[in-house]
Symmetry: none
Subunit: 230 residues, 4 copies
DNA sequence: AATGAATGAGAATTCATTCAT
DNA sequence: TATGAATGAATTCTCATTCAT
């Protein structure tokens, strides 16, 4: 909420410029990571001087965090739009899947940046503050869906729509895990390759198949089992 | 097959030394990442000279890849042991989950290193070869499970054990996605936090609950649904 | 006479503003030195814009010199007041010592700035003009006392008050050296420590002792010796 | 004693190189001061790489302190040689004065560096450690003479050589103050100018006069006064 | 084979100075 | 006249890589 990683000067500055700086930052950090990205290069690409960047952000890390925050905000918006609808669970799942598939293009940088954080938080030697802050920021995305998912599952249980012998929170976690992995598969090189290995080289030309099969998987998972398996 | 990112000298050198060097490298790269890790520091920690390291590996990247290769080999072994058993699918799933839970300690470095790769493969500016090679290496881990899972699912379908209206490959992908995310949750800081958000602060003191719920989830997912959901 | 290192605009500006700017400058330069002091910070502290500062002074160095000039003026006033009295030499000495002891608090910045110059004038690489000008300015303080002291000593010799086998100028120099060092001891960290080493940790709580002993020293020095020393 | 501002690597390095590095550092720091001196320039002048300098010293400040330490050691040697002789006080004084006059040439850098410290210890914004350490180091020079002077004066009092109604410590302080100022006058630009103002333009071509007059001053100061002054 | 001292290009950050408003 | 946002050269420090021993 309180965007606390930039200096006041940044907030006061021109909207257009703010946008350009954040966008350039997000692009670079998403493409190269925190360490590899170069402040001087970012400044040049954004069409401002290094000095100005340092008027706006005390350190490279603060600038990074501000970019992450922006990316997270965007993701939150995308996610909460779909997540807070009143549709039945499978309808929502379908919407989420299709959003993930569409998002892969232009907005992939937000996901990539988010993915970058999942790694950074492990790194010792990085000032505790940076990794901790990055983690907290990115967790906001999870926060949105975690609550929405488990609430919805709980309600669906009450309505008798889905099995009631399961823990809504745990199932929400499994549900989100598949979707998050799918998200990465549509945006990050590595996960893309991984998905191809599992699903075949042409899987990314077959969006409908992905929707169908994943819905089947979720439908099944949430329903009472025949229980003759074993 | 043996992609060999090292110079012949390394292969010829003492077994013990090879082991120490790789272990130190894996530790450091897992803890700090490719950029942040320092060759001079690794050399010191491994008890050899930098010079020798450069006799063994042409570049830092080559050394990194050799470490990744080693980590991947270890993961492959761990995975294939469980994956290639002849148990029914849920028995296998349980074994995998318990392995993941046990592995979190000592062997976490292999997973962390594997996680590092998922990021690197996105990075432009990194010599194409490095990210490409890292991707290929890590994908070997997927290769093992992808094949095993989909084969097994296909067989289970034939046997009538599980629903036959689903694509074995796709389901194998979803299955693995949940497990991989679980794996990360037990080893990487960020995913750990994420799991807590979904499942509660004390989830890591409740291994049995995780096993139970996830098995329920999988059992359900693989079985015919009551199909009255909508 | 008015060496004027400032632009005409400064002279024309509001008295109050001039005062604030010089005071802030003197404070900062005294506390941090020429290099370490920051024009942007000074501007902020003085409540004016950097731009205005540059309307008033062509360079940081010019601003520094103007501050030095002001400090020197103040010191000159303090010094000449005491120095030009008509008292006997020891009475004057006592007044000087007591002034030094009292001055240590609020006006210490002038002495510190003066002390800063003693260093700057050594520095090559600094535009010749700056160090040269600083030297000339600060020497004005010396000028006042040098003349006063040697004149007085010469007169005292004529009056038979003090030994006449000594060079008034040289003795004035020795006299001033002790007083200047005392001055620094009461204002600058380093000299303070040095005085403690010589005179004991509690010397600064014993102003009277300092007065007494130093007067004894001076009295003796200026009087005919028993001459049996060897 | 424990030269604790450099890394072990420096101590292990070639004697000749150590000498060159310290000498270059002392020269530069003496000429330009801590802030203005440039590590890259020093490295070039010393004929080594910046990298190596940073192998030897963790920071610019540490390098500076090592140089100061070296300068102080040299000064201590010079001082203690003269100071600890068994001569009568005026004989010693003469030796000290002549040493100061001779030292002015080649060894002036040590004095200049020492003078630099007297300023640094005032500067806020400088890491406390640096100024504190510099102060402690330089105080060692004082330590040597403070002890020697007051001991000697006390002894001379017992022997009836000098007045016994004065505090040996205080008189030692006044004695050293004149000598220190003389020292600076023979080495530092500013004090040189100051001495000229007091003693005349040609004072530096008149070493004997300085010796004579200062000895007179000291002789007188230490002897019983005729006490008819006032 | 093995060492580790030495290199130097490159990156983050600062701050005197300018200039459009 | 006054502002303060913007500039970018310059500085400290890091670390992959080399090479004489």
């Amino acid at each position: 909420m309180s965007s606390s990683f930039c200096k006041p000067a940044f907030l006061k500055s021109d909207e257009e410029r703010k946008k350009v700086i954040l966008e350039t930052g997000i692009n670079e950090f998403a493409a190269l990571g925190l360490e590899e990205a170069n402040i001087n290069v970012i400044a040049k690409k954004a069409g401002v001087s290094v000095g100005l960047l340092y008027k706006y952000f005390a350190t490279k890390e603060d600038f990074f965090l501000t970019c992450v925050e922006e990316a997270v905000k965007t993701l939150e918006e995308i996610v909460s739009e779909v997540v807070t609808s009143n549709d039945k669970i499978l309808v929502r799942a379908e919407k989420l899947i299709r959003t993930i598939q569409k998002t892969s293009g232009a907005d992939s940088k937000y996901v990539k940046l988010y993915n970058e954080i999942t790694k950074i938080s492990n790194e010792k030697e990085l000032s505790k503050d940076v990794s901790e802050s990055a983690k907290l920021l990115a967790n906001r995305v999870e926060g949105v869906s975690a609550k929405a998912y488990s609430d919805f599952i709980a309600k669906a249980q009450k309505d008798g729509d889905i099995r009631n012998d399961c823990d809504p929170k745990m199932f929400a976690f499994f549900f989100d895990s598949v979707l998050m992995t799918l998200q990465f598969s549509y945006t990050c090189d590595y996960y893309r390759e991984r998905m191809k290995i599992f699903c075949g080289e042409d899987i990314f030309e077959n969006d409908e198949k992905v929707v169908d099969e994943l819905l089947k998987f979720f439908e099944s998972a949430f329903t009472f089992s025949r229980s003759d398996l074993k």
